[in-house]
Symmetry: C2
Subunit: 243 residues, 2 copies
C-alpha cells in the first residue's frame, strides 16, 4: 500500500528466494532426506535461527519447494502445448505434453521425487499445493477437450461397475466430456506418472534399455486409450513423429 514498499519487504522476498534457491541446490545435490536447514543457513552466511523467520519449520520449506516443483512441471507441460497449436495433431500434442513432463522429471529428479514419490515429512498437503498440483492434469484435459471439440471422441462403453464413478468424475472434472473419456484420462494420467516414476526410481534398470523409444511408445498408447488417434492422413506422411 505504501509508496516504496520498504527496503525491508523487498529484502524479505529476496532472502526467501535465496533460501529456496539454496535449498533446491541441496535438494538436487543430496536429496530431500539430507536437506538441512543449518546447512542452508551456513551456505547463506546466516545463523540457523534466523532462517526460522522465513520458514517456521523444515517441513514448511519442503512444502514451498513442493509448490514450486508442481508449478515447474505444470509450466513445462503447458509450454509444450503452447508450442503446438490446438489445431495440430491432437495425438502428437498429447505425447508432446507427456514427453515434456518426462523431460522435466529427468532434469529435476529430486524435485520430481519430492512431489511424485513418497510423501516426505509428516506429509499434510496444504491447500496451497492443490492448485499447482493440478496443472499437468489440466493441461492433459485441455488436449482432450480440444480433440473432442474438433473430432469428437468415441470410446467403447464402460462396464457396469465403474459407470457411477465415471459419471461422478465427469461431472466433477469435465462435464463437457463423455464419462468414458474422463475415466480413461484419469487412468492415463496416473499411468503416465507410473512409467516416469519407474524409470526415475530405477525399476527399469536391467529391464528397459532404450527409455526414449519405450516412453514414446507408451505415451502414444496412452493417447489411444483416451481416444486420441493419430491424424494419419493430411500433409506429412512420416510414420513415426519423433527423431
Amino acid at each position: 500500500m505504501s509508496t516504496i514498499r520498504g527496503a525491508r519487504e523487498r529484502a524479505r522476498t529476496e532472502i526467501t528466494a535465496a533460501i529456496k534457491d539454496e535449498a533446491r541446490a541441496q535438494l538436487a545435490a543430496e536429496g530431500a532426506a539430507k536437506l538441512s536447514l543449518r546447512a542452508v543457513a551456513r551456505e547463506l552466511g546466516m545463523a540457523s535461527s534466523a532462517l526460522y523467520r522465513y520458514f517456521p519449520s523444515r517441513d514448511d520449506l519442503l512444502t514451498a519447494l513442493i509448490v514450486d516443483a508442481y508449478d515447474a512441471v505444470g509450466a513445462a507441460a503447458e509450454a509444450a502445448l503452447a508450442a503446438a497449436p490446438p489445431a495440430a495433431d491432437h495425438c502428437a500434442r498429447w505425447t508432446a505434453a507427456c514427453s515434456a513432463v518426462r523431460a522435466w522429471a529427468l532434469d529435476h529428479p529430486h524435485q520430481y521425487a519430492l512431489i511424485y514419490g513418497s510423501p516426505v515429512p509428516g506429509y499434510t498437503a496444504p491447500k496451497d499445493t492443490v492448485a499447482p498440483a493440478s496443472r499437468v492434469a489440466l493441461a492433459l484435459v485441455s488436449v482432450i477437450r480440444d480433440a473432442h471439440r474438433t473430432n469428437g471422441l468415441a470410446l467403447p462403453p464402460l462396464s457396469l461397475g465403474v459407470r457411477p464413478e465415471a459419471d461422478r468424475m465427469a461431472a466433477d472434472i469435465a462435464p463437457d466430456l463423455p464419462p468414458a473419456v474422463v475415466t480413461a484420462m484419469v487412468a492415463a494420467w496416473s499411468q503416465l506418472f507410473g512409467t516416469i516414476s519407474f524409470e526415475l526410481f530405477g525399476h527399469f534398470n536391467n529391464v528397459v534399455a532404450d527409455r526414449d523409444a519405450f516412453f514414446e511408445h507408451t505415451a502414444t498408447r496412452l493417447a489411444h486409450e483416451v481416444g486420441l488417434r493419430p491424424q494419419a492422413a493430411g500433409a506429412s506422411a512420416g510414420s513415426s513423429a519423433g527423431s
Copy 2:
C-alpha cells in the same frame, strides 16, 4: 548345516527378527523418515550401540526392510494366482494379481512407499533386492505366459520406433512371448504401480471417490492392453465379472 548350531546363532536370528519387527512397527507408525535406530533399541530394551552388531548402519536396516517388503508383495501376488488355477479365466487371474498387490499396498502403505516411492537414503539398491523385486513382475508374466500357451495372444504390430527395444526386451525377459506382448506387459506393469501409487500418495484425493471400482476397471483395461480378453462365453453370462 551342523546339528544344533548353537544357542548363540539362534539368539542372533531371533534378535535380528525382533529388530526388524520393531523397525517395521515404527515404519508403519511414523514413516521411513522417522525411523530411528535409537528408538528401536530403546523399545527393545537394549543399548543403541548394540544394534550395530546386527545392522551396520541405518540404511542396512532399511535395506533389509525393503527386501522383506518386496518379498511380501511378491508373495501376495503369487498367492492370488495360486488361488486361481492356470486353467481359469486369464483375464480374471490378471486382475486378481493386480488387486492383491493393491490390497497389500493399502494394508502396508509405508512399506509400499519404501519400495515404490522415492528411493529413501543414499539409495543404492544392493544385489539382494533385485530378485525379490522381480517377484510381482514374474507373477504377471506367468499369467500372460499361461494365457499365451492356451489361447495365443495377438496384439497389433508395434510401430517402427520401439521394435528394436521390444525385441531386446522380449529376448531378455520372455523369449517365448511375442515382443509386442512383452512390451505391453512392461508398460502395464509400471502403469499398475502408477495407479496404486497415485491412490496411496494422495493424488486421487478429490479426483477419484470409488477407488475400488476405478481400480477394478483400470486393472481390466491393463489386461486388455497386454492382450488378455475376458472369457466371455462359457458358463456365466453376467456382463461384468466382479460384483
